[in-house]
Symmetry: D2
Subunit: 340 residues, 4 copies
């Protein structure tokens, strides 16, 4: 069975596993107060050119989104997000569970725009409505699209103008950076906070949260603990991030995943397959005849995104650093046969 289902089916990259085995656990008070986490935080601050940033390590993506948003907002403050956003659709109401409404904006390509933001803010203008306060973007988006640097800058400007925070869910930030024109220091300069996802790019688990805005830093460790989001053996996170960030490996892995996805996209385009959105990253959303989808499912693992019309379905292929060119070519060959 070929696996294009997701990018978190593999164990960690060998250097990460190696580091975990050989790092030499230290006797520490635990909970992230250890030299490995300290070093990883310093690494990230340096890579982000953000010496004043607070860096925290959490285990998972829903956990970090939920904890950050709960920490940053007052009770009546709300999130603006694309309607396809992970926090809208696939986190079981985790943000709402902590009391915050998410105002969902229909966005065909999964991206928020300044116009959407302005429209939401202008219609939330009294104490009878929530107060929009935080822009949630994910990069790459849930449709594989990537915010460009000018797009992020435009969101920052509207955020400044309307007194909003800009938060970037970087579960696939490596892929976004490898595919786009914004680098880590841009994220630190433009976002109040953002995450650097490890789970989907070489780690066993782990998301680094960078809180660039000093006003949002106090009390965050308390919030983490309250959410059950401090790992007892915190050094596991520091060790892994140190290993993956060394020598640019994090971005090399992401670039490889993107490369495989690009090859897949090209092959599909050659066969005149249309796409739900134009993705330069490691998630690809082809629209295929239902009978092809059905036949494909016998030999390939993938996820169904949505029905498109009576006879077509959009599915998702995801590549990862360890997918390999062979698997991509096999998939394309199979699709060639099925598409006849």
């Amino acid at each position: 069975m070929l696996n294009f289902r997701n990018d978190y089916s593999s164990a960690a990259h060998p250097v990460v596993m190696d580091a975990l085995i050989h790092a030499g656990f230290q006797q520490t008070p635990g909970y992230g107060a250890d030299p490995f986490c300290q070093e990883a935080a310093d690494n990230i601050r340096a890579l982000c050119n953000c010496p004043g940033g607070a860096v925290h390590f959490l285990v998972g993506g829903t956990q970090v989104n939920k904890t950050a948003i709960a920490a940053f907002l007052r009770p009546y403050e709300a999130v603006i997000a694309a309607s396809t956003a992970h926090i809208c659709c696939h986190e079981t109401g985790a943000v709402e569970q902590d009391g915050h409404k998410i105002i969902a904006c229909p966005a065909p390509d999964g991206k928020l725009t300044p116009d959407m933001v302005r429209s939401v803010v202008s219609s939330h203008d009294s104490e009878h409505t929530v107060l929009p306060r935080l822009l949630y973007v994910s990069n790459t988006t849930e449709l594989g699209t990537v915010y460009s640097l000018p797009e992020l800058q435009a969101l920052r400007r509207v955020a400044d103008e309307l007194k909003l925070y800009l938060y970037c869910d970087g579960a696939r930030l490596g892929s976004a950076i490898a595919a786009g024109d914004a680098a880590l220091p841009d994220y630190a300069a433009l976002c109040d906070a953002f995450t650097i996802g490890g789970t989907k790019n070489g780690l066993l688990f782990g998301e680094a949260l960078v809180i660039a805005n000093p006003a949002l830093q106090p009390g965050f460790r308390h919030c983490m603990k309250q959410q059950g989001a401090i790992l007892a053996k915190g050094q596991l996170l520091g060790i892994q991030f140190n290993a993956i960030l060394e020598d640019g490996r994090y971005f090399q892995l992401a670039a490889e995943a993107n490369r495989l996805a690009r090859r897949l996209t090209e092959g599909l385009r050659e066969r005149n397959v249309p796409f739900l959105a134009d993705s330069p990253s490691n998630q690809v959303f082809p629209i295929l005849p239902d009978k092809v989808v059905k036949a494909l499912a016998k030999e390939v693992a993938f996820e169904v995104q949505q029905r498109v019309d009576e006879s077509h379905t959009c599915i998702r292929f995801v590549t990862a650093w360890d997918t390999g060119s062979d698997a991509v070519e096999q998939l394309l060959a199979l699709l060639g046969r099925l598409l006849g």
Copy 2:
């Protein structure tokens, strides 16, 4: 200044004020444990033909929606509502504050349909999504439209099929019943719970909640207290409801408000004014040229609903039991002049 802004600007109907003054307060333990509330609850059970219903009296509409939904749902369960629903737009995220997501369905006339419900449920199918569990309808809706009895019956059927609760926000239930074909016993038979609004139809304040579904009844008084929603001098609520429900007065007041709105609608139609939605109830949503709206605002109090196009705006006129025919005729005369 003519007032068509809302239906809660007046004090109570004279019989209600009279009852409050002369009822003869009783020395009771308070908090709704008094003979007036007991009598009002019995009245409502009788009017609803629902001997097994639990009846609670709360002060306000947001309070009762919030308390009921928090009481009925488990943490990961969500509400389905029209995107214009009061709980979506005008309750400052009260439902989310208690942890529950509202899934908003675009609905041009403010009404949920079985198809919308099915579509939502079918796309929320794993533990990574919230579980839709409660249908929130308001009758009349926020656009003045009214669910018919067959429409409510169809929602009940889809609710049964998909294991959902049906909850009706009856802040303007009097107007809906006076304008439609569903009566109190229909609500008790079709809804798991619904409210009978007093604030907008003759009371100083007060919403009666009828919990028809026995499974949702236990613990509700605890939830009320926890939400700060038990009035210390609870008899104030019982006294008022007894007065307004006597001799069908509640429905007479609502019918009068509807009659005035209908006259207003007819007058506007004669002047070829279009409407946002077709309202048989006491809220009317004409679409007027901006310059008319601007001129009108100098002599009439009303609310702006939304911009419709570059030169037109939809506004809202609300009538109440005490608006009076004179005010309606004055408004129509003024509109006649302004519309030229």
Copy 3:
């Protein structure tokens, strides 16, 4: 049946009822945006000598405590309160429902002391514990005792030292002021926020919240709405507070209630009845033989506070502005007979 059960069994004081009947309702946008509430807020600011205070009117006591604490604290911040505090015992976990822990301090007389506060703060010193942030005091306390001005000043000092807020639940503030040496301007000067209770001292309902600390003022109306705590016909609150605050009537009513309680206390002391706590206010907590309590219950309404030993029970008598000397004398006579 003599009623010493509570101080919220009566309707409003006649001048308040009169004001409600004759005030002349105004057509306003509602929700507290009306001239009556504006006037009442100005009155309160003047009486408190607190021109920069924000004043809000809410319906009930649990509602105002819950809304204020939820508005003031970040998620991991906690409340310190006496273990007898109303928010600890009799509000069904309303504060916890909004996410905040209450750290309860055993306090024989119902009062927090600086030593208790210091002890709590010193034992909550890492991100693994909540962060104590708000001191909740009630004046009068739930045991009828009254904080003196020096006691409140001492709490303010410790609050300043440890960066805590001081919040005073004034459900019975009239009684506390009438019995003590701290006046309204003292509360405004010492507390970050406090309430002036109307429900138990002459109103049908209504608690005024004074937020003296400007840092706690922003967004409060949003929090109120989110909690279902904005009354649609808000002018009902402004009208009542204006009536009761005129000419010092609020304090006259409280003084009368205290006077009756004092008479009751003296009469009980003459009969050598011991008390749970030494109350100068309108709640009295005598400890009586069980058989007396049982016999008393046939002719007097009161509440049982707690068992004291195998044969004695502490009960609560509450007086109000309308209890009347006759009732007190009848109660004393009855007790005289029962105590033999």
Copy 4:
């Protein structure tokens, strides 16, 4: 530096690390839907003699306590716990953050008794109080003490009588079982739910939750996801639990930790050192002169529990499966010198 600070400073037991390295990751949908978790759940059901139990794997202790309690209780339901309970003191209000009050019972040895439970329930008897619904016990307790089988049976009886759930936090369940007379099937028979802690007994991380009561099973995966408590690469948990549970290794490690603690206790007793509580498990709480504590801190890592009197402090020594006899003997020798 000798380490007696905690039992989560080490990496995993070698067999667990080995399993992680060699297990052979499988391409699965992730999130715990994998054969390793399935096998581990089956193993646990078999070991517990609880074929109908639901078994879930979570990463950390606070996370599992918080998620379980939020899932099991309705909004106004509360937890009864010893005042030393981990959820009371060291989880930053995680349970309250989800809306539930914890009623703390002073308990010198860290254990709840039926009498405490009865007393709490009898004083929470109206809608003005929370409703006690879940007994939280930890075994071993936070003071190192261990509930015996008869004690657990007595709690079950009072739980049945008063309609309460019994939940056991087994972060150190291995140690409790190795030191006591209750075995896994007893926990499954007596508790509605309990955890089997891995973090402190051989795993990198991981707590298994067994929900024995079928009524509490539905919807739990939704609650996990909502709390950010489903690990993307869930097989990491299954792999580890399978390794540690094989051939009774889990209990062997715990027995070794207990043995070392017992040796330490004996050595301290020989030197006439008193203890805060009588611990048969892997946490020991000696009371030492302040000057000894101060000197000790230069060579040994440990935690301070509390001040006992003006010149004595209770500290905590924790042993683990890998502490080793040498370290214990060195510590005893050092203490011998310091105690003179």
